[in-house]
């Protein structure tokens, strides 16, 4: 079951148009630095990255579902019976298809409502080094802004993408980055927690006031 998802991911990756990895990493990098310059507060930047990721995620999910469907990869990908299946599809098919990276999933909680995605490599942060504490030469803000950059979650885009994608299939989740290679950990870990299962129904426009 797991291997078929990995294979599905591989097949879909092969069919996707590819982009230059450097261009991708550099574009993202300049987006982040521009956000940092605009907002200055890393917490706010994290929130913005998450929002950007959200609007990417809501579109990616349809692409994944439609291409999986069209390639006759079977219901292993498009139908998930429980959170475990969803987690595997997100990590093995989703990450593979869009980024070409191998992602592992694990760390399931007791009540099966949360899991972790582990990324060995992160194409977004290929050339990135977070400035270290005490580097005063490039510090321009008087309030010690560089210390705060340690609080920046550089890859927070992923959290938004996962949240947006799962929201489109009625799963409300919260994602956080727990471990980050940019901060010295050995791998990247994203913790995903299911908050609630949404129901179909009227949107906000129709609710009575």
């Amino acid at each position: 079951m797991a291997s078929s998802k990995a294979q599905a991911g591989q097949t879909l990756w092969a069919k996707m148009p590819k982009a230059n990895a450097e261009l991708f990493a550099l574009t993202y990098g300049s987006l982040v630095t521009e956000l940092v310059r605009d907002y200055e507060d890393p917490i706010e930047v994290n929130a913005q990255l998450e929002r950007i990721g959200h609007s990417i995620g809501v579109r990616c999910v349809d692409e994944l579902l439609s291409k999986a469907d069209s390639s006759n990869l079977g219901s292993a990908v498009t139908q998930c019976g429980n959170l475990r299946d969803t987690a595997e599809v997100v990590s093995k098919v989703g990450f593979r298809m869009f980024l070409g990276i191998q992602a592992e999933v694990g760390g399931y909680s007791q009540d099966q409502r949360s899991f972790s995605i582990y990324l060995q490599e992160n194409p977004l942060s290929t050339f990135v080094e977070l400035p270290t504490i005490g580097d005063e030469q490039s510090s321009s803000s008087p309030s010690g802004g560089l210390d705060d950059l340690r609080k920046l979650k550089y890859s927070n885009l992923y959290c938004g993408v996962i949240r947006g994608a799962l929201e489109m299939v009625n799963l409300k989740v919260e994602c956080t980055i727990v471990r980050d290679t940019l901060k010295g950990d050995e791998l990247n870990e994203i913790r995903v927690e299911l908050k609630e299962v949404l129901s179909d129904g009227a949107g906000d426009d129709y609710k009575e006031e």
Partner: protein, 194 residues
């Protein structure tokens, strides 16, 4: 042997695209299209409810759920303006049981295909709640493959347009041109899956 219309209905029942695909397609005004879109959306769900057997994953297979639906609908049927009321019924669908079911929209219990005297209508419902509906003359084959390709085109052209808002009417020329090409291809040779 021809395709007639394509229409796409979003999660909440609003029509986001309607397109005529061939010369034989009947001319339908915009208002009527909107009506068709929301009617279909409601009927899609009601068909699942009305069926005597339900798939195991159906969210409404619980007893209490069934009672709620039936009570609401019984008082409003058999009216000529039943169509506008149908959409209100959907808003009272009970919340989804916790616990995973295989799809979001009731385990594919909704309408897949309608055959009439002069038209075949086929519907593809995606996991994200969007319905792609294709009508064609009887005897047209390959509707399923065409629908899936249209879903792929939607995710490639419409969703990737940064100015396209989700659930809003689609105004992407790229998408409509791609759909037209797909239909021409389907008419001449058949659509090959990717």
């Amino acid at each position: 042997m021809g395709f007639l219309h394509l229409f796409i209905v979003n999660k909440s029942g609003g029509l986001i695209l309607h397109r005529s695909l061939g010369p034989t397609a009947p001319k339908i005004g915009t208002n009527e299209w909107l009506r068709i879109g929301s009617t279909f959306h409601s009927l899609h769900a009601i068909a699942a409810e009305a069926s005597p057997v339900k798939l195991p994953g159906n969210k409404n297979s619980g007893e209490w759920a069934h009672t709620n639906i039936a009570r609401v609908t019984s008082t409003t049927f058999v009216r000529t303006c039943v169509l506008s009321f149908l959409s209100t019924i959907l808003f009272l669908l009970p919340p989804w049981h916790f616990g995973f079911v295989s799809t979001i929209a009731g385990a594919d219990d909704g309408i897949e295909q309608i055959e009439g005297g002069g038209v075949i209508l086929r519907c593809l419902q995606t996991r994200t709640g969007i319905k792609f509906v294709l009508t064609a003359e009887p005897g047209t084959s390959g509707l399923d493959a065409v629908l899936r390709e249209i879903y792929v085109l939607y995710s490639d052209c419409a969703l990737k347009d940064p100015f396209y808002e989700l659930e809003m009417p689609i105004r992407c020329e790229l998408f409509t041109n791609a759909v037209d090409n797909l239909i021409d291809q389907a008419m001449s040779g058949g659509v090959m899956p990717r």
